[in-house]
C-alpha cells in the first residue's frame, strides 16, 4: 500500500427536494435549479468523511472534491474545504446541461483521468434523483472495481483495503486493492463539522468565474499571495471530452412526459378526534372485518 493517497470525492450540490416550489420544473422536463435552495447532497457528506478518515490514516494524503454543476456549486467545494478537504475542482460548462446519469458519469470520468487519483469516494445517491447510478457508471468508465454501500473502511491488509458494506440483507466485508471506487451509505458516520481555523483560511477561496463576477481588490491580492484560494474550474475542453457524449445529445434516456402530482379525488369520510367519532370508526372496522 502506498504511504500517501490521492483521494477524489465525488459530490453534488442538489436542490433541497423538501422545499420545492411551483417553478421547480422547466417546460422541457429538466430541473429549474435556479429556483431552488441548494444543499450539499447528504450522502456525499458521508463520503467526504470516509475520505477524511483515509487521510487521517494515511497522513499527507490529498483530498480533492470533484463536482459538476453550475457556478454556484463551488459552494460545496468551499464547504468541503472548511471540513477538511485540501481543494476542489468544479466541472462547469453549458454543454453539460441536461445530462442524464450516463453522460454525467462520462464527464466526471474525463475529469478523473486528469486528476489521476488512487481512490474515489462518492455518496451512494443524490436526493434529487435517487438513482445511485453515477458511482458504478464512473467506475465502469474507468475500468475500476466498485464497492457500493460502504459503511466503514475497516483497515488495510497488504495492498488491499478492507471495507464493510451494508446490504439490505446484512453486512459484507470485502478486500480490494487500489485503485477502486466506493459509494458510501447514509448509515456510515456523519461528516465532521467545519473547523473554525479552516473556515478562516478558506473563506475567500473562489473559482475564476466567481472572482470575475464579484471580487474586491483585497480578494484579488489575497488569491495571488495564497494559491490555495483558487478553486480549479474546468470546461469540456479542459477535460478533453467528446461533445457527442454530453448533455441531452449524449443521454440515452429522454424525459417523455412530466406530470405534476395531483391525486385522483375521492371522497374521504371526515371525522374528528371526538370520542363518539373514534368509537364509531372502530365499531365499523370490526363489523367489516377490516380489524379483528
Amino acid at each position: 500500500m502506498k504511504k500517501t493517497l490521492k483521494i477524489v470525492v465525488l459530490a453534488k450540490q442538489v436542490p433541497d427536494t423538501r422545499n420545492v416550489g411551483k417553478d421547480a420544473m422547466k417546460a422541457d422536463g429538466t430541473v429549474n435549479r435556479a429556483a431552488l435552495p441548494a444543499i450539499f447532497n447528504p450522502e456525499d457528506l458521508n463520503a467526504l468523511e470516509q475520505a477524511l478518515v483515509l487521510k487521517d490514516r494515511f497522513p499527507g494524503s490529498e483530498v480533492t472534491l470533484l463536482t459538476m454543476g453550475p457556478g454556484r456549486a463551488a459552494e460545496i467545494i468551499r464547504e468541503a474545504m472548511f471540513r477538511g478537504a485540501d481543494g476542489g475542482v468544479l466541472l462547469s460548462d453549458r454543454k453539460f446541461a441536461g445530462s442524464d446519469t450516463l453522460a454525467t458519469s462520462y464527464a466526471l470520468s474525463r475529469a478523473i483521468l486528469k486528476l489521476n487519483p488512487d481512490i474515489i469516494v462518492a455518496g451512494r445517491q443524490a436526493i434529487d434523483g435517487d438513482t445511485a447510478q453515477v458511482g458504478p457508471q464512473v467506475a465502469e468508465k474507468l475500468g475500476w472495481p466498485q464497492i457500493t454501500y460502504v459503511e466503514e473502511i475497516v483497515g488495510t491488509e497488504g495492498d488491499e483495503l478492507i471495507i464493510k458494506r451494508r446490504l439490505e440483507q446484512g453486512v459484507e466485508t470485502v478486500a480490494c486493492p487500489l485503485p477502486l471506487l466506493m459509494t458510501v451509505n447514509a448509515s456510515a458516520p456523519e461528516c465532521r463539522p467545519r473547523h473554525a481555523k479552516r473556515v478562516m483560511k478558506y473563506k475567500y477561496a473562489k473559482t475564476a468565474s466567481e472572482a470575475q463576477s464579484a471580487s474586491t481588490d483585497y480578494d484579488d491580492t489575497l488569491r495571488k499571495e495564497r494559491p490555495y484560494l483558487n478553486i480549479t474550474e474546468w470546461s469540456v475542453a479542459d477535460v478533453d471530452a467528446d461533445d457527442a457524449q454530453l448533455g441531452l445529445a449524449g443521454s440515452p434516456t429522454k424525459v417523455k412526459k412530466i406530470e405534476n402530482v395531483v391525486f385522483a379525488a375521492k371522497e374521504a369520510k371526515r371525522l374528528t378526534a371526538a370520542d363518539s367519532d373514534i368509537d364509531g370508526l372502530m365499531k365499523e372496522l370490526i363489523a367489516s372485518h377490516t380489524l379483528g
Binding site: 427536494t17 423538501r18 421547480a24 420544473m25 422536463g29 442524464d100 450516463l102 458519469s105 436526493i127 434529487d128 434523483g129 435517487d130 438513482t131 445511485a132 453515477v134 458504478p136 457508471q137 465502469e140 472495481p145 466498485q146 464497492i147 457500493t148 454501500y149 488491499e160 446490504l167 440483507q169 446484512g170 453486512v171 459484507e172 466485508t173 470485502v174 478486500a175 480490494c176 486493492p177 440515452p252 434516456t253 424525459v255 417523455k256 412526459k257 405534476n260 402530482v261 391525486f263 385522483a264 375521492k266 374521504a268 369520510k269 371526515r270 371525522l271 374528528t272 378526534a273 367519532d277 373514534i278 368509537d279 370508526l281 372502530m282 372496522l285 370490526i286 377490516t290 380489524l291 379483528g292
Partner: protein, 339 residues
C-alpha cells in the same frame, strides 16, 4: 433475439421475490410485444432453478453455474450479463432495485451505453414521436417513476439505445405464476469466454446475512408515522396501536430521515411497497413518493391536524386531529368493542 430479459437474483439457491415479480411483469410486457421472456441466472448449484422461473413465465433460462459466481460480486456478474446481452440483443432488460440490482444495472448500462431508469413504479409499452426530428418510435418501454422528491411523475424512454433498462423495487409489481408457464428451455452460458482474472479482484472475506428482522411487507395492518409525529418518543404510541391491532409500524421517508425510526420501516418509492388491509397514516402529509408505496392498501385512515393534507385525498377516513389524542382513543375503543 430482441426479447425481454430479467436478471434473476439468487441468494443461497433461492430466487429473490423481486426477480419473480419482474418475471411476472416481464411476461405481460413480452405478451404485449409478441416476443419471448428470458431469464438470466448466475450463481452456483442452480440445478432445477429453471422450473420455478418457467412457472413465472420464462421461456429461456440462461444459466452460468460456477463456485466463484456465488455469492454475487459486481465484476464477474457484469461481465457475463454484458457478454450475453451483446449476443442476445434484448430490447428490454429488468433488474431488481435491490442491493444487487442497483449495483449491477448501472455498471451494465454504462458498458453497453444504454439508458437505465431507477426505481420505476410502473412499466408500460407505448409509442413516441420525437418533437424535433418527427421520428416515430413504436413499442417503447415507458419507464414511469416519481422524481424530484416525489413532486413530479416522470415517464422516461430510451428511443435509440438497447436494451431499455429499468430497475424496480421489491413489492412494486405483483408476483403471480404465469397463466401458461414459459417454455423453460435451459441454455448454459459459457462464462469463461466473458471472464478475466481481473473480474475477481474484489474478495469477499465475510458475509453476515440476516433474515430481515423487521418485515412490514406482509403485515395486515400498518400504522405509519410521518414527520408530523414530531419525535422518536412519540412513535411509541404507534407501536402500541400496531401491537393491539396485530400490525406493524411503518414510516414516511421524512420520519426515517429525522431518525424517528429504522429505515426498514420506510414505506414508499425508496422504501417498501405495502398492500395491507388497513393503513393508518399518522402525521403523514402524503407526498406521492410515500403514497406510491401504500396506495394499494384496501383501506386508508389518515390522522392529520391539517384538513387539507394531500393524504386525505386518498384516504377512506380522514380524521382531522392530533395523533397523540386520536391514537390512544383508537386503542381504547378497539379494546372496548372487540371484547
Amino acid at each position: 433475439m430482441n426479447n425481454v430479459f430479467v436478471y434473476c437474483e439468487i441468494e443461497s439457491g433461492k430466487v429473490a421475490d423481486v426477480s419473480l415479480e419482474l418475471l411476472t411483469k416481464g411476461r405481460v410486457l413480452a405478451n404485449t410485444l409478441g416476443c419471448d421472456l428470458e431469464a438470466v441466472a448466475i450463481g452456483h448449484q442452480l440445478d432445477g432453478i429453471e422450473k420455478e422461473l418457467a412457472l413465472y413465465g420464462a421461456d429461456t433460462i440462461h444459466v452460468a453455474d460456477a463456485p466463484e459466481l456465488a455469492p454475487f460480486r459486481t465484476l464477474p456478474h457484469a461481465a457475463i450479463v454484458c457478454g450475453l446481452f451483446k449476443e442476445e440483443k434484448p430490447q428490454i432488460a429488468l433488474f431488481g432495485a435491490s442491493s444487487v440490482g442497483r449495483d449491477l444495472a448501472p455498471r451494465v448500462s454504462s458498458a453497453l451505453h444504454s439508458g437505465l431508469t431507477a426505481d420505476c413504479t410502473s412499466l408500460e409499452i407505448g409509442d413516441h414521436t420525437d418533437a424535433k426530428s418527427g421520428t416515430t418510435y413504436t413499442n417503447l418501454l415507458y419507464q414511469i417513476r416519481p422524481a424530484f422528491g416525489g413532486n413530479i411523475i416522470a415517464t422516461i424512454i430510451n428511443p435509440d439505445h438497447r436494451p431499455q433498462m429499468a430497475t424496480v423495487r421489491e413489492g412494486v409489481m405483483k408476483k403471480e405464476p404465469a397463466q401458461t408457464p414459459g417454455k423453460g428451455i435451459v441454455k448454459k452460458i459459457d462464462a469463461s469466454k466473458y471472464l478475466n482474472d481481473t473480474d475477481f479482484v474484489v474478495r469477499i472475506i465475510d458475509r453476515q446475512i440476516e433474515d430481515r428482522k423487521i418485515n412490514i411487507k406482509n403485515a395486515p395492518v400498518i400504522v405509519a408515522g410521518g414527520y408530523g409525529m414530531g419525535s422518536k418518543e412519540n412513535f411509541a404510541i404507534l407501536y402500541e396501536l400496531a401491537e393491539v391491532l396485530g400490525g406493524e409500524v411503518g414510516a414516511s421517508r421524512a420520519a426515517v430521515d429525522a431518525g424517528m425510526t429504522d429505515h426498514a420501516r420506510q414505506v414508499g418509492q425508496t422504501g417498501v411497497t405495502v398492500r395491507p388491509k388497513l393503513y393508518i397514516a399518522c402525521g403523514i402529509s402524503g407526498q406521492i413518493q410515500h403514497t406510491a408505496g401504500m396506495d394499494g392498501s384496501s383501506m386508508v385512515i389518515s390522522i392529520n391536524t391539517d384538513p387539507n393534507a394531500p393524504i386525505n385525498k386518498i384516504a377512506d377516513y380522514a380524521i382531522v386531529g392530533d395523533v397523540m389524542e386520536v391514537v390512544p382513543k383508537m386503542i381504547k375503543y378497539y379494546k372496548q368493542n372487540s371484547k
